[in-house]
Amino acid sequence: MITNEHIPQNVNTIINDLEPRAFGRIGKLWVAVLVGFSLIGLFFYIQQVRQGLGITAMRDYSTWGIYVSNFVFFVAISLVGSLISAILKLSKAKWADPLTRIAEMIAVAAIIFAAIVIIIDMGRPDRFYNVIIHARIQSPITWDVIVITTYLFISLLLLYLPLIPDLAILRKRPERLSKWQNNLYGWLSMNWKDLPVQKNILNKSISILAVIIIPVAFGIHTVTSWLFATTFRPGWDSTNFGPYFVSGAFMVGAATVIAAMYVFRKAYKLENYIHLKHFDYMGRLLVLLSLIYLYFNINEYFIPAYKMKTSEVEHLKELFIGRHAQLFWAVQILGMIVPIVVLIFKRGRRPLPLLVISIMVIVGAWFKRFLIVVPSLAHPLIPTNRVDPTWLNYFPTIPEWFITIGTLCGALLIITMLVRVFPIIPISETIEEMNARQNKKL
């Protein structure tokens, strides 16, 4: 029996519990580590700009490496915003309300770094300007630029709009706020008066955003998949790629929210707001999404393996029994099969096992993107005679690893800073739910 659904019955307690808090010792250490790795990543990025992409392991065959797999990973993570804030909200899954802000914060951080990573991959950052001025509307790259920008804007609005009443509530207690917080909250809350007409406009706007973010979210990852699927390369030349990417994105997004809610619940003592019920439901959701992803994986690998077209043979052999086999089977089994098996059982959906499984899913998802991007590039359609062996065996260089780790830490830093500045759980919605429960009792 999943219990522990207590919500404090006092407005002040709720506000006190949910207001942003200054970092403690561990929090400061966490920020220092993230800043440190981000700066190391920045240092290597400056080296890359100065010396060129030659410092990476990307060569004529593997023109995309971990930068692009990292980009796909970030885009995938960002879809969680639409899953929790839109799909679950529109399907009246009220239990997910406390998780909406966590999901939106993750989505905003991920999509910002998706855009940054792709500029890193270009080598010289000014090349992005060329992408804009020489844009071809026929190119999936142009569609990707458009849809990422749009998704970022919608995600920011979907993060911001529900924050307005919360910031107004926090601003009513200036004695508990620092000066910068007071100014920031005042500016962002636009002197919110909690008028019924304001509430009406705000709820309507949030609902509209929740509707339009769904096709944009599907668009962002489908277009990302088309960057691959519009080519004839083995492993990419698939009509299955759009749904395959989207389902994988929802799966890793759900796992990220689970990991985040476990950490925030522990760090900020939010047991009264993020209940065992939330872990259980998110665990069930993760099983469902993993099963859908498994279905698309079977389609993606089984059918080509059944046909073994000449162009696909080398690629599939490398994945199944070749040099990428260990990573491939580890990702498929530990990142997908094991989570499904464990999360089917109720015990597996308790917070700690669920956290472990979620981390397995996230790590597996990162390496899965690597397996999607890199092995296909080792088999060009027109191979070169006596090719340099370094072209065939891509392994990221130290600068690539540190730049990638820097971007991952940068995304975590944005989430951490958002958590420092804004409430993690929507305060006004929690108060409304408390009022609704009290009215129901009466």
Partner: protein
């Protein structure tokens, strides 16, 4: 004790041997001139006179590499009794292609058999080397004609007899090519052979794309023959299918330039984008309404 003495003797022996090897190596590193391989090929294109191709290579680690910037001297005749033709430096492929000047050709063209010599002499760091090639004088003719609507290429080959008279050569195997963008397309196969009149004919393929006027370049080659060298006959004929180039970049297609994107795509993308932008503007307007309501 014995063991120690044996060990010392062994170590001393190995040391002395090693030293000997090292000393030996030192001896070989004294600036000895580099041995080279010099080859000479004779070419003639459309009877325009001799072209002498010399290639200079040297052996490094069991494989030959070409040598650049080596001066090669060309002679008519052998080294004892010869006419100096001129000299050239090898290019980055180790090759020096010498075209015998018109003025010298008249002097040379008095015998049926030619002897050409290439020599690398007095080059710093390079051991002197010379090589020669003996060639019998020859002549080719390439013509085109049409018979019963069948297009044919006619090739004829003569050589000089001992009296200097030009006589046809039988049983030669010229290869007929047509020049394409990235190489030569063989159109005769391996069994085209000259008859007793020195003639070899092939049917010209009627399905080849030419330039915008249908022009094709035909090349007939006898490659590195022991007696005649490399003899090439070249000609141009407008028997190809004229290439009609349509400027597809100006059509509205998926693969066209950005300015010529298909109308339906421009419409769909802009409609989708417009719909979203309009919605977002509406949301921003709603934020403005919320703001104004707070200040009323």
């Amino acid at each position: 004790m014995k063991k120690i003495i044996y060990s010392l003797v062994l170590i001393l022996s190995i040391s002395l041997c090693s030293e000997g090897i090292l000393i030996g190596q030192d001896d070989t590193t004294v600036n000895e001139p580099v041995k080279i391989r010099l080859s000479l090929l004779y070419q003639n294109i459309n009877n325009t006179g001799p072209r002498l191709l010399a290639t200079v290579k040297t052996k490094v680690d069991r494989s030959y590499i070409t040598l650049e910037d080596v001066n090669v001297k060309f002679y008519f005749g052998d080294s004892d009794e010869s006419l100096y033709l001129g000299s050239l430096k090898t290019n980055d492929s180790g090759e020096a292609l010498f075209l015998v000047p018109e003025t010298l050709r008249k002097i040379i063209d008095t015998t049926a058999v030619y002897l050409y010599t290439a020599a690398v002499q007095n080059e710093p760091g390079i051991k002197d080397k010379e090589t020669d090639v003996e060639i019998i004088k020859s002549k080719v003719d390439l013509s085109f004609y049409e018979e019963d609507s069948i297009k044919k290429v006619r090739y004829q080959f003569w050589t000089a007899d001992s009296l200097g008279n030009m006589i046809p050569v039988e049983d030669l195997n010229p290869i007929f090519y047509i020049e394409r963008l990235f190489g030569l397309l063989a159109v005769s196969g391996e069994f085209a052979t000259t008859d007793e009149e020195g003639v070899c004919e092939i049917v010209f393929p009627d399905n080849l794309l030419g330039d915008s006027n249908g022009k094709l370049k035909v090349l007939v080659k006898i490659d590195d023959h022991d007696d005649y060298g490399t003899i090439i006959a070249k000609a141009q004929i407008d028997w190809g299918i004229p290439l009609v180039q349509s400027d597809q970049s100006l059509e509205r297609e998926l693969w066209s330039s950005g300015a010529n994107a298909p109308i339906y795509l421009v419409f769909i993308v802009n409609a989708l984008l417009g719909g979203i932008v309009f919605t977002l503007i509406y949301i921003i307007f709603n934020l403005y309404r919320i703001y104004t309501l707070s200040h009323e």
